[in-house]
Symmetry: C2
Subunit: 188 residues, 2 copies
């Protein structure tokens, strides 16, 4: 999506050819017009039946909401992050490794919000090493739900998340696919 | 808003005439059609110029996004919650007391996302004692921004948050205004 790539090029901060900050339009202040266009792109890309949109708190929620709306007001479920390993029987649980923060956390969903009848589109702001997305895929598997695909705003392709997902047969869409950084500039 | 009141009546869990859980349509699974209607109500209620919608992670983001969109794709800013009291010069900071959890946290916003020229509509899922909303008002004050009002989905009126805000001259809207609980049922 050209407009998102241009936005990443012009308005992100890249540090040490590794970390990218998109706080001004994606995960602190949100450019609603841009996210609306992204959601429309995502719907065009995954032109298949979807019953539910799944994301994870907090930065995935705005994009998840926009996507759920353009699919005709589907339910949006956001997984919760828990540092504790104490879980209860009423939730599905997946361990997520955050490569960015170097720690693990648990992603959980109340069992009543995901079932074997669901066709789930997973949505998030970022795909890097794929920790969060793989966790959401695990939650769907636990529920017996079908994963229609994973759609993200920005992908750091070189960190391997897409490869991990595609090896499981999962389709991936990103609005801006960063192949690498050079001199703290993104190369699409 | 009749439809939201009915939803609260039929789909929430109320415990000990005190705690209300709305996970099935508001803050874990989100009923997008319902939030769209709520956002339209909020726009009708605050029929004044707004330049920015402000909320706080995580449960406020979906409603904030919907409101920002119906106001014509305004920027949505969500404050971040930090347990640490260590802050940096580049952010506005407000201490928030969570009456529900009985603890304090810091709400922060990058200074570049709020200015004295902004007319801010504060949006959240809940208004109870008003801790989070007052914190967001404090962040606006710090930035010199004007607060147009506070709009929430569900209000627990008897916990005094509305009173605190109105004493500061701030207009408050709630989609479902719970005056009290009786036998674990909401009275509007």
């Amino acid at each position: 999506m050209k407009e998102l790539e241009e936005r990443v090029l012009n308005d992100s901060k890249i540090i040490d050819n590794d970390i990218i900050k998109v706080a001004s339009f994606l995960n602190h202040q949100i450019d609603v017009a841009l996210i609306e266009k992204l959601a429309a792109h995502i719907k065009t890309h995954f032109n298949r039946p979807v019953t539910k949109v799944l994301t994870i708190e907090a930065s995935g929620i705005a994009i998840g909401y926009a996507v759920a709306r353009v699919y005709g007001n589907l339910p949006l479920v956001f997984a919760k992050k828990q540092s504790s390993k104490l879980t209860v029987d009423s939730v599905y649980t997946a361990k997520v490794h955050s490569f960015t923060k170097g720690n693990d956390y648990m992603a959980t969903i109340d069992k009543s919000f995901l079932s074997k009848d669901d066709k789930v589109l997973i949505v998030d702001d970022f795909l890097a090493a794929g920790g969060a997305s793989m966790g959401l895929v695990d939650l769907c598997k636990e529920a017996g739900a079908e994963v229609v695909g994973v759609a993200v705003a920005v992908e750091k392709n070189f960190q391997g998340g897409r490869k991990r997902l595609e090896q499981l047969g999962i389709k991936v869409y990103s609005g801006a696919n960063i192949l690498r950084f050079e001199d703290n500039k993104p190369i699409f």
